[in-house]
């Protein structure tokens, strides 16, 4: 049992997996949007990148995190989400060859940015022993959502960040996560995201497959 579980029993942990450099900004946006939306609703929040993954390289699997709690979060010195309630994949291929469910809490939800059907992805989810803990697998094709498509090098390896928070696919993914988990309200996300259409489209177009 890690400290987070011991002292922050009500804390919800969101882990967003992505690809280094090209998609890092979008995953960071998804995590930041969820945390900021939670804060707007009076929750206690944290959001940060996985320090161990940095500096990233193009294509490397990296993670961004969000934490939300109705109570003050006591966990300050754990820099990874060891027990995610939600696992988000900003790029579909991450489902293959990564232990995305490691440490997942029972009843956890997996959200994948993909045009593929949830049924076709489930065979790759790893570690297999943790699969019974997954309550639902949700898929959102964020890459095709109108103005929501954007790849950027902004905010990576010291580069300046000119784009606002939630201008690209990360906004659509955040909308999908909000709908599947109920962690934050749609209105709070729309309120703070740069691309409000993408958030709404993510919320509307996510397909959810209940498991177990």
């Amino acid at each position: 049992m890690t400290l987070a579980v011991a002292i922050d029993a009500k804390m919800q942990e969101v882990t967003v997996w992505t690809r280094g450099v090209t998609l890092a900004k979008e995953a960071r946006d998804t995590a930041t949007l969820l945390a900021k939306a939670g804060k707007q609703e009076g929750k206690y929040v944290q959001s940060f990148d996985n320090y161990v993954d940095l500096p990233d390289r193009i294509g490397v699997p990296v993670k961004s995190y969000a934490r939300l709690s109705p109570e003050p979060i006591e966990t300050y010195y754990e820099y990874e989400n060891y027990h995610p309630d939600v696992v988000v994949l900003a790029e579909e291929t991450l489902v293959k060859g990564n232990d995305i469910l490691k440490g997942a809490k029972p009843g956890c939800v997996v959200v994948i940015n993909t045009a593929r059907k949830p049924e076709t992805l489930i065979k790759w989810i790893s570690p297999k022993a943790e699969l019974p803990k997954v309550k639902a697998l949700a898929c959102i094709d964020a890459n095709v959502l109108g103005a929501g498509v954007m790849l950027t090098f902004d905010g990576t390896e010291g580069a300046g960040d000119d784009t606002k928070i939630g201008a690209g696919v990360g906004a659509a993914i955040a909308g999908a996560v909000a709908k599947v988990t109920g962690f934050v309200k749609l209105e709070s996300l729309v309120d703070i995201a740069e691309n409000k259409t993408a958030v709404r489209q993510g919320w509307e177009n996510v397909s959810i497959m209940p498991l177990g």
């Binding site: 690809r19 390289r57 294509g59 699997p61 291929t93 489902v95 293959k96 593929r116």
Partner: protein
């Protein structure tokens, strides 16, 4: 004294991994897999020279193949191939 001195490796040179480095498996960086069309390939070895991770294997019988445990899908091989014999296919289109 001189003997001991000669045993010291020059500067920071360390023995290179001759086969593979288990501590740095880069196969899961890949989301586009290189696939060679053997009918097109002229076995010119350009891809073998350019692959930054030494993931291209050349054999007289089999021609070009890729070490998928380490290939990070960067696409350099496909870009340098003079006859366009290497295509990049989404990794999830393959079962294994």
């Amino acid at each position: 004294m001189s003997k001991v001195y000669k045993q010291v490796p020059f500067a920071a040179i360390v023995p290179s991994p001759t086969v593979a480095n288990e501590g740095m498996v880069t196969g899961n960086w890949r989301y586009l897999r290189p696939v060679v069309d053997k009918a097109e390939c002229t076995q010119c070895k350009t891809c073998w020279v350019f692959c930054p991770d030494a993931c291209v294997n050349m054999s007289a019988d089999e021609g070009v193949s890729f070490n998928l445990k380490y290939c990070k899908g960067c696409g350099v091989c496909s870009n340098v191939c003079p006859v366009g014999a290497i295509s990049r296919v989404p990794e999830l289109d393959f079962e294994e």
